[in-house]
């Protein structure tokens, strides 16, 4: 299922990674309940995002005392400070978006976009264009959704529909690669106006085929240029490769700064987890191949393989770290946040490596499709995805990294500008085949 789709679903080997909850077969902790639950602020106060907070304050309390605040050790900081101080958000009195009666059109508050949950206590000021500042959406727009948007992308589009009476978004969903292949096969006959996919590789392939139209510089000005190659598509939310570690077993200092040093690290020797069949992990190995070369990657995989425990996906990897089953692992950053959101006392924290493949940031993004005769509406729609409200939506509901610089991530994580990703054109990540061959060769897949 899931996966793949595959086909027949796709929770498998090569399934698309999503910016949403991962397959959680065993569902031991219902970690998704809080994040997916559309709750209203339980204190009844309608926050409209304008309440001022000192910038950079850790949302879960202040950073641990005694932590050196200089740049080099930032990656070692305990980003996920204990949430014990935060009041638990009860599920009682929740009102889902779908059931919440809104007033007249346009009566959608900023808080409607904001998620809830332990990690979303209060948010600093958001410095980004508001929906009110954008042109209106009007008409019918066909959106090809790539990847398991988990219904959240649909929810966002429904919010837009509530704001604009005469706007309708018609989504058509499938796996990221599936949708890209579909667009490549349809060519100029595609009925779609926008391709919104959770994976940069699929967007690049469609752009390389000449099926996209450049977005205007004005529309995408607030997004760092590495997340909008030639403006052929623009990143809407990011996900960073991270190292979830068990604080009872490993100290932050033991996590190497470079992912290439992991095989010789004591943290690894005491038990390490990964999910080789998971798309995000395969993208990371692809990045390593491109940055370090095939033989170094082969050697690294071989060394890691001797101690690594395999998990079906990265949510379960992060969960196993929290359980103490393994000391550390490789996962996208938001899985640990999700585990922590459900289990505030879990001895789990995140480390970020610097500069190499282990510091990769991948993005979900949107592209205007060239064959569409509604380019203007499509671009206005993409601008809505970059609005303060939508960026807040991605940050607080999916724990993704906002790509608009004025919107900070949750959980006291370093801002997207403070991370140190490798300089690698994300579209090159679609060169997955040699990666899979190499992984099979080593016996990891």
């Amino acid at each position: 299922m899931a996966h793949d789709h595959t086909t027949d679903g796709t929770v498998d080997g090569a399934h698309d990674e999503t910016t949403e909850e991962t397959p959680n077969m065993h569902d031991t902790h219902d970690a998704h309940d809080d994040t997916a639950e559309e709750t209203r602020d339980t204190d009844g106060e309608t926050t409209d995002g304008d309440q001022t907070r000192p910038q950079g304050l850790n949302l879960l309390g202040s950073p641990k005392s005694g932590v050196n605040r200089d740049e080099t050790s930032r990656s070692r900081r305990r980003f996920l400070a204990a949430a014990g101080s935060a009041a638990t958000v009860g599920l009682a009195g929740c009102a889902g978006l779908g059931t919440q009666e809104s007033g007249a059109s346009g009566q959608v508050a900023f808080s409607d976009f904001r998620g809830s949950g332990r990690l979303v206590r209060s948010r600093p000021e958001i410095d980004a264009p508001r929906i009110a500042d954008l042109p209106d959406l009007s008409g019918e727009l066909t959106v090809y959704l790539g990847g398991g948007e988990g219904g959240l992308y649909r929810s966002l589009m429904e919010l837009f529909e509530r704001i604009y009476d005469d706007f309708t978004a018609v989504p058509s969903a499938g796996g990221t690669a599936e949708q890209a292949n579909k667009l490549l096969t349809e060519q100029e006959n595609t009925p779609a106006d926008v391709f919104w996919s959770v994976d940069a590789g699929s967007l690049s392939v469609v752009a390389d085929e000449g099926l996209t139209t450049a977005l205007s510089s004005e529309a995408v000005a607030d997004v760092p240029s590495e997340f909008r190659p030639d403006n052929q598509w623009v990143g809407t939310a990011g996900r960073a490769r991270a190292v979830p570690y068990n604080t009872d077993q490993v100290s932050a200092d033991e996590i190497p700064d470079s992912v290439m040093d992991f095989p010789d690290s004591p943290a690894v020797a005491s038990g390490f987890g990964w999910a080789p069949t998971y798309g995000a992990f395969q993208a990371f190995v692809t990045a390593m191949r491109l940055l370090e070369g095939d033989s170094a990657t082969r050697e690294w995989l071989g060394q890691m393989q001797s101690t690594a425990t395999e998990y079906p996906d990265e949510f379960l990897t992060s969960n196993a770290v929290a359980d103490g089953e393994i000391a550390a692992g490789f996962a996208n950053h938001y899985y640990a946040l999700r585990v922590r959101d459900a289990r505030p006392d879990a001895p789990l924290d995140l480390a970020f490596t610097r500069g190499g493949a282990g510091a990769l940031i991948n993005v979900a993004g949107a592209a205007l499709l060239e064959p569409s005769d509604q380019t203007e509406l499509a671009e206005t729609f993409v601008r809505h995805l970059l609005s303060a409200e939508a960026q807040e939506f991605f940050a607080t509901r999916t724990f993704g990294y906002p790509t608009v610089e004025g919107v900070p991530p949750v959980g006291g994580l370093p801002g997207i500008g403070e991370l140190d990703p490798p300089s690698l054109n994300l579209s090159r990540l679609s060169d997955l085949e040699p990666t899979l061959e190499l992984m099979r060769d080593v016996g990891v897949l």
Binding site: M1, T6, T7, H26, G96, G98, E186, S202, E433, E437
Partner: protein
């Protein structure tokens, strides 16, 4: 012989006519018009293969050769062939005895067992595979129970797991076709053999087996080709078959490589079809024997182990997946009414309507093909019937892309509309309808048709008044089979669904993709319930006692 308009037979011509009719009763050749119709259907469902050749032609020869001869390709081929062989063998080993037990013995609660043993067919393989993984997988339910006892569970991933899961959910094909053969088997023959002091086993071997062989083979063929085309199970079980590799290639946007692999898969399909032709149904006429479930074997004490066997099979293949779904249903947190993830009953209605339409169209398309190939002994019949199995063996995702290609270019008005989606289902599931209908056609006593013609009926009216009522049960069974496989079809559905149109499976895909397993439980159970109803139709059509 070409069908005529059926001019009223006058006195002098009648004798000559009767003579020619008697000959026709022996030959029974269907008309050219039926043949053309059958050929047209066959050609239509073959059209997606053209796309494969178009795409494959884009690959350079050197590249193609290196891909075909790559070490991995050989592994994939042997993996696929081994999986097909094991799953087919296991399904026959399981399906035939279960059919005999439920048809020919005095087993207690026969009707209940008949339904329960057939039902696993309605469980989508991706749901079944997940159930197995969450039960037997690492950190699954079973290992959670056994771990404290120091018992470790062997890995569910790989060849063994894939074979086990597939067998669990496809053996009913063999069970159903064997059962149908046994029901139309004339038990008087068996009794005759028994009076000659042969034991049941010897009689079974010498009398029953030859009679039901075509039925068993038809089921085995469906199992073999389903195994070849199924993507969900090998994907979830991490086992590299053609389908999984094709999916990986498509994930890297290497559509040309994917099509080369698909062509290899079709090569394997051709081999399987050729093998099946060697042992295929003979041209035996039916005797018009009424279906019989008379007890021919009294089990005595053997009823106990037989019942235990049935119970074990039903628990593993039906109890387990439904139980896991129930667990998901109970375990899931409060349902969220978030747009996009809320379940709507409309999805169930959409699924049922599309599946019903697919069943009707597929059955209509199957009639000329089944009638022509069942009524002609010429090689032409096989030439027309065999290719219809190709779409069934094609991975859904490849078929979907082929229809995207043709749809957008040649019938843009139909692209992403229900008619094109239904056409995809026809291409995928036509063999199931043809198989069921053809065996009914073979079972029609041609003397009856001849009698009708003698009485001055035109071929068309003879067909309507004699043949059609006799083959109706086969048509209904075929339609029901198509209905339930359409209900659970995912990959082609996902690619070709009209924008904004959701069915149970696309909704299941969506929530599973997002990891909300609890949300998938309700639609999956609804799917199983609706499909179970169609399964009852199949069984009732064969056995009026049910």
């Amino acid at each position: 012989m070409a069908g005529d308009g059926g001019e009223p037979a006058s006195g002098p011509g009648r004798l000559a006519r009767l003579r020619s009719l008697l000959r026709e009763g022996e030959e029974g050749e269907p008309s050219v018009a039926v043949g053309l119709l059958a050929a047209a259907v066959s050609a239509a469902v073959l059209s997606p293969v053209v796309w494969l050749f178009l795409r494959a032609a884009e690959v350079g020869l050197a590249e193609a050769v290196s891909l075909v001869t790559a070490g991995n390709t050989f592994t994939v081929l042997t993996n696929s062939v081994a999986l097909v062989a094991v799953v087919t063998g296991a399904s026959v080993a399981l399906g035939v005895p279960l059919a005999v037990l439920t048809v020919q013995t005095d087993l207690p609660f026969r009707r209940f067992w008949t339904v329960a043993v057939a039902l696993p067919l309605v469980v989508p393989s991706y749901v079944g595979a997940f159930a197995f993984v969450s039960a037997f997988g690492p950190r699954g339910v079973l290992s959670g129970v056994l771990a404290p006892l120091g018992v470790s569970v062997p890995t569910v991933y790989g060849f063994g797991g894939a074979a086990l899961v597939l067998t669990s959910f496809v053996y009913p094909y063999v069970f159903l076709t064997t059962r149908a053969s046994l029901l139309s088997f004339d038990t008087t023959q068996l009794e005759a053999a028994r009076t000659l002091d042969t034991g049941y086993w010897a009689a079974f071997e010498r009398v029953v087996l030859p009679q039901i062989a075509p039925g068993v083979t038809a089921g085995a063929l469906l199992v073999a080709l389903y195994t070849l085309s199924d993507f969900g199970t090998p994907a979830i079980m991490h086992f590299d078959t053609f389908t999984r590799t094709i999916f990986v290639e498509l994930n890297t946007f290497a559509r040309s490589n994917a099509t080369l692999l698909s062509l290899q898969l079709l090569g394997v399909t051709a081999v399987i079809l050729a093998l099946e032709s060697r042992v295929g149904p003979g041209e035996a006429d039916g005797y018009g024997a009424s279906s019989s479930t008379d007890t021919v074997v009294e089990l005595g004490y053997w009823a106990i182990p037989a019942t235990l066997l049935l119970a074990a099979v039903v628990i593993v293949t039906l109890g387990l997946p439904v139980g896991i779904l129930g667990l998901w249903l109970v375990r899931s947190g409060p349902g969220y009414a978030a747009g996009g993830l809320g379940f709507e009953w409309q999805f169930g209605l959409n699924s049922a309507v599309v599946a019903a339409a697919a069943a009707v169209v597929t059955t209509l398309a199957a009639v000329p093909v089944a009638y022509y190939s069942g009524r002609t002994s010429s090689w032409l019949g096989s030439l027309i019937e065999r290719p219809t199995y190709v779409g069934y063996a094609m991975p859904g995702v490849v078929l979907g892309l082929a229809l995207v290609f043709f749809g957008t270019r040649y019938v843009p008005g139909l692209y992403q509309t229900l008619p094109l989606l239904i056409f995809a289902y026809v291409v995928r599931f036509l063999p199931q309808a043809i198989g069921a209908t053809r065996s009914s056609v073979l079972g029609v006593d041609r003397a009856l048709v001849g009698a009708a013609r003698t009485l001055g009926e035109s071929p068309r009216r003879a067909f309507r008044r004699v043949t059609l009522p006799l083959i109706a049960p086969g048509l209904v069974a075929g339609a029901a089979l198509v209905f339930l496989t359409t209900m659970k079809e995912l990959p082609a559905t996902l690619i070709l669904q009209p924008a904004g149109f959701n069915t149970l499976v696309t909704y299941i895909w969506r929530v599973q993709e997002a990891g909300y397993y609890g949300q998938a439980a309700l639609p999956a159970l609804v799917l199983v319930v609706i499909s179970s109803v169609s399964m009852l139709v199949i069984l009732r059509g064969e056995d009026t006692d049910l």
